[in-house]
């Protein structure tokens, strides 16, 4: 008995030795990042660029815990099932220490589920769905970007200041669009009980019949419009809307339109006076942001996009979290990431302990045309922590198992 026990302990100890050696810092700390590189190239190219820039900068300063950072990326082709498979490859084959990334909300949720099941740390960058850290949140998933709720709430706040009473919504027919509309309606009605929602349109994502949609909205004779369309749908919608005069003498409030990924393709047809969330880019003149922009330009000879901000901040947040945890062992990382403060070009942010949501904030402003290109003006930055509901509400939404 005695011999067998010692034998087993000894054997398992020797098996664990390589892991111990790694944890004590012999090789690089590996970040396994999964994103929709072929399905969403417009977003992911500047995003990956910025991640690489951040990794270089962190490594130039000596890395994390005395070890260099290494970034490995994989393409999920926009499908959750592929993302889960590749997460397995990164974890089992490439032996990454942290999982990160995702663009689509359902991919993010699938990766979060994988992380919880396999007890691995996953830091989501771009996915916006609220359920990621609330209804479907879990202990091993953190999310950086301001969620649909956060973005909708600042827009509702701005919309409440407008005289418009008759509102319509136009939004892509999937969860992100549905949540955006739901929160906006709820939060605006709470501030302005006199407001009425007289109609809505739900074009299929990526296949909007813009003329018919604009015509239908026009028929409802609204005073205010909430738009959640983005990408090619937004381009179609704006062109038809401009020609048919949908936006004239109307207030328009629009989610994400201020991001250069969506504003630039509008060209000289960019609408003016829309209240939008977005990213003013090089117009931000804080020292942190200027340093980021010049470093990005120096390396890539292009302006940083909103995706760049996200990618850069993601890597920095991971570096800060691991440094605070003092280890790459999963449970210690979870404790370390909770409440960690990190620098981003937009300012300081943290991962809240209560729901593991990042407090990276939202830029809100108005659209305008400058030199035949759309830009954000009159913008201000609102810290993410001011956009989240009260703690009791959050605790009620998150499952008990997530702590």
């Amino acid at each position: 008995m005695e011999v067998t026990r010692r034998l087993i302990l000894g054997a398992s100890g020797s098996l664990a030795l390589p892991g111990l050696l790694r944890a004590q810092g012999s090789g690089p700390i590996r970040i396994g990042e999964i994103n929709s590189y072929t399905a969403q190239p417009a977003f992911t190219v500047p995003y990956r660029n910025a991640m690489q820039l951040a990794v270089e900068q962190v490594n130039a300063k000596g890395g994390v815990l005395g070890r260099q950072l290494e970034l490995i990326t994989r393409d999920d082709a926009g499908r959750p099932q592929d993302a889960v498979r590749l997460a397995g490859e990164l974890v089992n084959d490439q032996k990454v220490d942290v999982l990160a990334g995702a663009y689509l909300s359902n991919v993010g949720l699938a990766l979060g589920e994988y992380a919880a099941q396999n007890k691995r740390l996953y830091i989501a960058g771009e996915p916006l769905t609220d359920s990621m850290v609330w209804e479907k949140g879990n202990r091993y998933t953190f999310r950086l970007r301001p969620s649909t709720y956060m973005q909708a709430s600042i827009l509702a706040e701005e919309a409440a200041k407008l005289p418009a009473k008759r509102w319509v919504t136009v939004s892509p027919n999937y969860e992100f669009g549905q949540s955006g509309v739901k929160w906006f309606k709820q939060l605006l009605t709470a501030r302005r009980p006199d407001v009425q929602f007289v109609g809505e349109q739900w074009p299929a994502l990526g296949r909007v019949d813009a003329g018919a949609t604009v015509q239908a909205l026009e028929g409802m004779r609204p005073e205010g419009i909430l738009n959640v369309l983005f990408g090619t749908d937004l381009t179609n919608f704006v062109r038809q809307g401009n020609t048919r005069g949908l936006f004239e003498r109307r207030s328009v409030v629009s989610l994400l339109t201020g991001e250069p990924e969506y504003l630039d393709p509008l060209g000289d047809e960019a609408p003016e006076g829309w209240i939008v969330t977005g990213y003013p880019g090089e117009m931000i003149d804080t020292p942190a942001h200027k340093a980021f922009t010049s470093a990005y330009r120096a390396k890539f000879n292009a302006k940083p996009m909103c995706g760049s901000l996200v990618g850069y901040s993601l890597i920095n947040s991971i570096a800060a979290g691991i440094a605070k945890a003092g280890s790459v062992e999963v449970e210690r990382m979870v404790e370390g990431f909770r409440g960690v403060r990190f620098d981003t070009p937009a300012g300081q942010a943290e991962y809240r302990a209560i729901d593991q949501q990042g407090t990276l904030g939202v830029y809100v402003g108005k659209t305008a045309l400058r030199n035949n290109v759309g830009v954000m003006t009159d913008w201000r930055y609102i810290d993410g922590k001011d956009l989240l509901p009260a703690d009791e509400v959050v605790r009620g939404l998150r499952p008990a198992s997530a702590s």
Binding site: T38, E113, D209, R239, R244
Partner: protein, 613 residues
């Protein structure tokens, strides 16, 4: 309601755009019988080429017209290139092989376009005259949309003139009715096909160029346009230009008014229309029944029991698969598990497609149904995995029976398109019925019980189930039912004349295929930890087709070979290069050109060298 007229006109403008794209597709299909998946890609190229040309020209209307004409010619040239290099080599192959080749072309064009023009959306700056509008019933109506409304009928008229008043057009119409006869009359079939393809591609390019003022050149055009184009072509009747025009009008107007009445119907409207039309008019509004008699002359080769060498090979492969987890890491074990699911996916499709003669473009629907059944049982009733695995084939079989009742009454491409319509409806249900299915965020937390959760154990479960399903299906094929099914496919007329119930045989094949596929879906769901609407997507159905056709339709081992090759290839490529679509597309095209009977079919041919079949 003073908004009826503008809404109607808007619908007409949409109809014109739809017609432009669909016209090329229907002409190409009518003559060459090719289901050209790459038609949307040609329109996308038209948009990008149009952008490149028009942004370099002055902005007056004359130059716009010139630029559009140049784009049409350029796209027509690309169509010719495509036909000569790729499609010409696969005319001899069964119809669906051409489909496979065109799908490879879609992948290639996606990466080529990205490489040439970049990732960012390219809008065409609109000069003043393109932004103009007129006042109609108190609403502003875009001038350009009026131009579009006129363009549709003008193009229809020009095409009608070409088809009915030129010798070439007469040949094209004759070839649409009876291809073999036209060839027998001494017409150079190759030249005819190439010129038809050029016309079709040119029309796609026209559609792409004319879409620029209202939209932009972007990388989503190909896939977003192709489904609508197929729906219009099928609803109108394959090969019928007037049918395509009428169908475009129907769909454009229905859509314009539909979204006012039921805004959320956008996901499913066109497919509902297609399903309804096909149920009442199985050949589309104006289509003709496809000539069946000549088709049967390309008979399937004889199916014999596998030679002992092959059986030994199969046993060896199985033994290797069983011990694989001891030699490879956990990740590769999950890839092998995915391969097991792929085997079920492919063999079940092959069952109804090869011996059954029914090509399904919507096979992923049963896969998803099975997955959702298992997931929902877990969520609502806490049902453990064995129960989920039992319920999945039952649920999928029931749904297959429901859809199948309509499907087996059709044949040929119409049958395939109806399966596509039903699959899209199923997808839309899973996507939109958020309360039941979780919507596009899916159902999470669908995991196996603790004892089955390690990758190895789960793999062995999947292996046993997939081999079991494949063997059961094979067993059925060599039993009287399988023979009867093949008899119904070889010659429905002869089958009936010996007393076989062809419709019922096919229905049962569909239910069996659906049920088996549903089991695969459930295994997949437990392996991934969730169920998502992407399980029912068109690309997923296409993957099933790819696997079956790659492996070859006419052998029982074909789908297994295809499943293994495709899963392995896709996994390696995705992890090796950002340009994996280009490489995968090229590999598919090369395989189709080199092995029109598929991999297993080619192996069989080599094996039979010198021997009689």
């Amino acid at each position: 309601m003073d908004s009826i007229l503008p809404q109607l006109l808007t619908g007409l403008a949409t109809a014109s755009s739809l017609f432009l794209v669909a016209s090329g597709l229907t002409i190409i299909f009518g003559v060459t019988r090719i289901v050209n998946f790459s038609h949307g890609s040609l329109m996308m190229l038209g948009a990008y080429i149009g952008w490149s040309i028009l942004t370099r020209l002055p902005r007056d209307p004359e130059w716009f017209v010139l630029g559009v004409v140049a784009t049409v010619l350029a796209t027509a040239l690309i169509g010719v290139l495509l036909e000569v290099v790729v499609l010409r080599r696969v005319y001899r192959a069964p119809e669906l092989f051409q489909l496979l080749a065109t799908f490879g072309v879609v992948l290639i064009i996606q990466d080529v376009t990205l490489w040439l023009w970049g990732a960012v959306e390219l809008p065409l700056p609109r000069p003043r005259w393109l932004r103009g509008f007129v006042e109609i019933a108190g609403n502003r109506f875009p001038l350009y949309d009026l131009i579009l409304i006129v363009t549709g009928p003008v193009v229809l008229g020009l095409l009608w003139l070409v088809m009915n008043r030129t010798r070439w057009g007469t040949l094209v119409r004759a070839a649409t009715l009876d291809r073999e006869m036209v060839a027998a009359l001494g017409v150079d079939q190759r030249l005819l096909f190439t010129s038809v393809f050029a016309l079709g591609a040119g029309l796609a390019g026209l559609g792409g160029a004319l879409s620029l003022p209202n939209a932009s050149a972007n990388l989503n055009i190909d896939l977003s346009v192709i489904t609508d184009a197929f729906v219009v072509v099928v609803v109108g009747g394959l090969g019928s230009l007037t049918g395509a025009f009428v169908a475009s009008l129907l769909i454009g107007i229905l859509q314009a008014f539909g979204i006012v009445l039921v805004p959320k119907i956008t996901l499913v409207l066109v497919f509902l229309v297609m399903a309804v039309v096909l149920v009442f008019r199985p050949n589309g509004l104006m289509g003709r029944p496809q000539s069946e008699a000549r088709e049967a002359s390309v008979a399937a080769p004889v199916v014999r029991p596998a030679p002992p060498a092959l059986q030994l090979l199969g046993a060896a492969a199985l033994a290797l698969a069983a011990v694989a987890p001891f030699f490879v890491g956990d990740y590769y074990v999950t890839v092998l598990t995915d391969a097991c699911v792929a085997i079920i996916f492919a063999t079940s499709l092959h069952f109804m497609m090869g011996p059954g003669g029914m090509a399904s473009f919507g096979h992923a629907a049963w896969f998803g149904t099975g997955a959702y059944a298992a997931g929902l049982l877990l969520h609502w009733l806490g049902a453990p995995m064995p129960l989920g695995l039992l319920a999945a084939p039952v649920a999928a079989g029931i749904v297959a029976a429901l859809f199948g009742w309509f499907v087996v009454r059709l044949s040929g491409v119409y049958l395939s398109m109806l399966t596509l319509a039903f699959a899209q409806i199923a997808w839309a249900v899973s996507f939109q019925w958020v309360d039941a299915t979780g919507g596009d965020n899916g159902l999470l937390g669908v995991w196996p019980p603790d004892w089955a959760r390690s990758p190895r154990t789960y793999y062995w479960i999947a292996l046993v189930l997939s081999v079991g399903v494949a063997l059961l299906l094979r067993r059925a094929l060599y039993a009287p039912y399988g023979y009867a099914l093949r008899a119904a496919r070889d010659s429905a007329m002869r089958a009936r004349s010996i007393g076989l119930d062809v419709a019922r045989l096919r229905m049962v094949a569909l239910v069996i295929a659906g049920a088996a596929c549903g089991l695969g879906g459930a295994i997949f769901a437990y392996g991934k930890g969730g169920v998502f609407p992407t399980y029912i997507s068109i690309p997923h159905s296409v993957e099933a087709l790819l696997m079956v056709l790659l492996g070859g339709l006419q052998t029982v081992a074909g789908p297994i070979a295809g499943a293994l090759v495709y899963t392995g290839l896709a996994d390696i490529l995705v992890r090796s290069t950002d340009l994996w679509r280009l490489v995968l597309g090229a590999v598919i095209v090369l395989l189709v050109v080199a092995f029109p009977e598929g991999i297993a079919g080619a192996a069989r041919r080599l094996w039979l060298r010198g021997r009689e079949a």
